[in-house]
Each structure stands twice: as C-alpha cells, then as structure tokens.
C-alpha cells in the first residue's frame, strides 16, 4: 500500500515538475516509437495490402508465417538484432549496437509482422462486398482496389496504433540492443527495469505511471484524428 501511494505522489511530482531525466527518457521512448512505427508502416502497410489483394500460391503459408511471428518474444527479436549488429556480426561495421538507430531497427523487425498481419486483416475484412459493388458499378480493377483500401483505413489506423503501443511499452529490444546507457539509450521502460533492480520500487512504479499517462495523451490524440477522419 505504501509503495502504491508513494508511487502515485511521485508520478504526479515527476510529471508536474517536468523532471529533466524523466523527460529525456520519455522523449527518447516517443522518438523511438514514432520513427520505428513510421518506418515499419512504410514497409508493412503496402505489404499487407498487397498480400490481401492478391491471390497467389502459398498465400496461406505466408499468413500463417505472419501470425507465428506475432508471438515472438521481444527479447528474441532483441537477441536476433544483437547478433546481427554486434562487433562479430555481419553488420558489426555499422556500429549500431547500443545506439538509438540500433533500437529502431529492432523495433521495426518486431512490429513489421504485426502491422502487416493487422493491415491484411483490415483489408481482407472489407474486401468482398465492397469490391463486388464497386465492380458492378463499373469501376476498373484498380479503382475497386482503391475503394477497398479507403474502406479499410480505420482498420489500418488501428493497426498503426497497436504497433506504436507495442514499441512504446516493450523492454526486450530496448534493453538488449540499446543497453540502457544513461543519456544515450535509456528509455522509460529500461529505466523502470533499472529501478526495480536497484530496489527503488516506488520510483519504478512512478515511471510506469508516467508511461501510462503518456500513452493516454497520445491515444486521445489518435482518437481525435480518427474521429475527424470519420466525420468527413
């Protein structure tokens, strides 16, 4: 009980006073989440649409593969990227280990399958009726496809929000690839782990609440964006 109360008071104080350390961790987490979501989005959304729109041999296998990747633990992705960019790894010469760009690569690898699968699902859901209607109204194949994508845009936006949420809250990749270096790669989640390891539970919990508050504000912003899109 004591820890919980203390954590609440601490979290409020950290937020109100804009604690420079916490602000730095939060901004770093935000930056990593936004950049990696954008990069993964550029890659995964077109891929998801492509897979949904096309019929090809082995499509089922591709979809099963994607769904399997959804369950891969973040630490495994972290280890995978670590092995790639470490000094002995094939991309060691790029010196990406223990850097923010390194973390971003890991996060993109982590969320690209998620984003692809959710985009695919969103497009596949609207597909049939809308496409048939569009075609029967005289739309070309290409125009019909465009109509389907337009219809799926809320689902795609939801996929992007989910991907963003996964990055902002994950600690496996950030810890293993980033290394939790103070002032360079420490994020909100790795700072939480550090404080738990040091036995500073109230502070760790307070950082958790800051993370929650942070996600809440962003989701409200997303919601407003989505609401506006719907009204048009």
């Amino acid at each position: 009980m004591g820890t919980l109360y203390e954590a609440l008071v601490r979290a409020a104080r950290l937020i109100v006073s804009l604690d420079p350390d916490v602000l730095q961790y939060a901004l770093r987490s935000l930056y990593i989440a936004l950049v990696s979501t954008a990069l993964a989005g550029l890659l995964a959304v077109p891929l998801g649409i492509f897979i949904a729109e096309r019929e090809f041999r082995g499509k089922r296998l591709v979809v099963t593969g994607l769904n399997t990747l959804l369950a891969v633990p973040t630490v495994v992705v972290g280890l995978f990227v670590y092995a790639l960019v470490s000094r002995q790894g094939p991309f060691g010469f790029l010196e990406l280990l223990f850097t923010v760009p390194g973390i971003i690569i890991g996060e993109v690898v982590l969320i690209a399958p998620l984003l692809t699968a959710l985009t695919l699902a969103a497009v596949a859901r609207v597909d049939r009726d809308v496409r048939l209607t569009a075609r029967s109204l005289g739309a070309s194949e290409r125009q019909a496809a465009w109509v389907v994508i337009r219809e799926a845009r809320y689902g795609i936006l939801a996929a992007i929000i989910a991907a963003y949420g996964r990055v902002v809250g994950e600690v496996g990749v950030a810890m293993i690839v980033g290394g939790n270096i103070d002032g360079f790669t420490r994020t909100l989640t790795t700072a939480i782990i550090l404080n738990v390891d040091m036995g500073y539970f109230a502070l760790a919990l307070a950082l958790g609440l800051v993370l929650l508050a942070f996600s809440f504000v962003l989701n409200v912003a997303f919601q407003l964006l989505q609401g506006e899109a719907r009204m048009r």
């Binding site: 223990f98 040091m198 500073y200 109230a202």
Partner: protein, 299 residues
C-alpha cells in the same frame, strides 16, 4: 459452476508453480549479489545447508544496493553483500541483527588488450582511473548501486577527477527515507548502464571500453572454450581493490516476519570452518574465485 472446486484447483496449481513442496517448511530467502550466484558458488554450497537443516534457500540475486533494500522492506531473511559502507549503514539503521565477514576476492580494472589509455602496469587503482579520465577513453559503469558500483565511486573519489553528484531520495515500504548520492565524472566517455556485471563486461568488450569488475565474474566469462570476453586485466593488486563479502541476518525485532532461527543457522553455517574450507576449494576453470576469511586469518 463449482467455485470452491476451481478455487482449490487454482490454489493447488499455484502452489505447484511456486515450488512449495507440502512437506518442507518455509524457505529461507537470501538476497545476494549477482557475483555469488552467477559464479555458481551458492549452487555448490547450498545443497549441504539444505541437507543439514532441511531448510531450502531461495536466492534472489541483485546488486548489493537492491539486496539491502529488499531486506529493509522485510522481503529477505539473510543478505550476502559486498559493500562495507552500505552494510554499516544498514546495521546502523537497525535492520540487521548480526553481520559477519565471510570471504573476499578482489576487483580488477579491465580494458582492451591494446590499452589505448596506457593503464597497464599501474599499481594505484585511483591513479589508473585518473589517467583514463585524462585520456577520455570509454569507461562503462554498472551504475546500479551494486557493491561494484559503490567501490567504483570510492575509487573515483580518490582519483581527484572532478565529479558530479546526484542525490536521490528513496522511500522504503516502511516509509523510511534515505538519500543516496551517485558520483560520476562528467563527459561522454563515461557510460552508466545500470546493468549486471555480466552485461557490463559484454558491453565493455563490444565497445573496446574500460570497466571495473570483480575478478570472479570476469574469470567465469573468460573461462571455457569460447571465452565471452577478450578484455585484459590492466590494474590489480591495489589494497583498495579488495572485495569483502559479509553475511547479515535481518533483525527480527524490526521485521517480525523474518525466519529468525533459520537465518541465525545460516550465518553460523556459512562461517563454520567446514564451509569456509569448501569456499576456498571452489574453482571455475581451475581458478579460485573466493578466499575464505579463515585463510586470511591464518596468513
């Protein structure tokens, strides 16, 4: 449909997951540093204690700071730590009933074998750090208030390098407040990573950086057919690099829930001549990792 039955099943399942055998009593919780656990020493010693007393030992391996904080919050019965100053404060606060020195080894300053800062051959550990600061070569710090980090701060203080102090107020579960101070030199060459010794050594090797480590963890990483580190020992043997481990039984008057009797037995056991001898015999890849205190007294 039958809540009592499913609740029972759930409880049974949880107790299995929790590893609580029906016959054994409450396990003894030992909060300790990662070095004693990771080196395999406790896994080697504890079966003897469990056989003699029938008490199972639950080991929680964290840094010394975290171990003492766990005990302050009443979540541990015994602590095995290696930061004399912090332990003394813990005792002064009344959290410990009994503290006894158990064993020692030493810290070493490690770095890349090519040693760009030129520390090799220096006997004075503080002077070595001062030279490192001057050369502005990468140094990786545990930064987690572990015994190793506390020792590192002590050496920096002695080095004469200009340090920045950061104060943090910590509240334990009992509501007691302590202010802890973290010292570090400024500059981008000093990286504080807040992780365990193993990860710190891996990062130092990866970044061709310098670091301070206990000898045991370093040796266990260097042992084996595929060594996981290529760092070299550059400074050793300074008296300030001695690393003493002590065992503390948590004070039952302050924390009534602790296993008073079992904790006292543990302290007696680990300081007994027989266990002391076993500690001195423990080797990883042919190297002795810990020296029992008895051995020191004989010398």
């Amino acid at each position: 449909m039958r809540p009592s039955a499913s609740a029972f099943a759930l409880a049974a399942g949880l107790s299995v997951l929790g590893g609580r055998a029906a016959s054994a009593g409450e396990p003894l919780t030992l909060a300790t540093t990662t070095s004693t656990e990771n080196s395999g020493l406790l896994g080697y010693l504890h079966p003897d204690f469990e056989k003699r007393t029938g008490i199972r030992v639950r080991v929680i391996a964290k840094g010394t700071g975290a171990s003492l904080q766990l005990a302050r919050d009443g979540n541990a019965d015994v602590v095995l730590a290696h930061a004399p100053e912090e332990e003394a404060r813990f005792m002064a606060e009344g959290h410990g009933a009994e503290r006894r020195e158990v064993m020692y080894n030493d810290f070493v300053i490690l770095g890349p074998a090519e040693d760009p800062a030129g520390l090799r051959g220096l006997k004075d550990a503080a002077a070595a750090l001062a030279r490192l600061a001057e050369a502005r070569r990468l140094f990786i710090s545990r930064g987690d208030r572990s015994g190793t980090h506390v020792k590192e701060m002590e050496l920096w203080r002695a080095s004469g390098v200009k340090l920045n102090a950061q104060e943090q107020e910590i509240t334990g579960e009992g509501g007691q407040r302590t202010v802890v101070e973290t010292l570090r030199p400024g500059g981008e060459w000093y990286l504080s990573i807040g992780q365990g010794m193993g990860r710190t050594l891996l990062m130092a090797a990866e970044k061709r950086a310098y670091t301070l480590s206990d000898r045991g963890t370093y040796l266990s990483l260097r042992a084996g057919e595929k060594p996981r580190t290529d760092l070299a020992i550059l400074c050793e043997g300074d008296g300030r690099l001695r690393n003493t481990y002590s065992v503390i039984a948590v004070n039952p008057e302050k924390h009534p829930q602790v296993q008073r009797e079992a904790a006292a037995r543990y302290v007696r056991w680990i300081t007994s001549p027989e266990v002391q001898r076993k500690i001195g015999e423990y080797r990883v890849a042919g190297e002795v990792l810990f020296h029992p205190l008895l051995e020191r007294e004989e010398k």
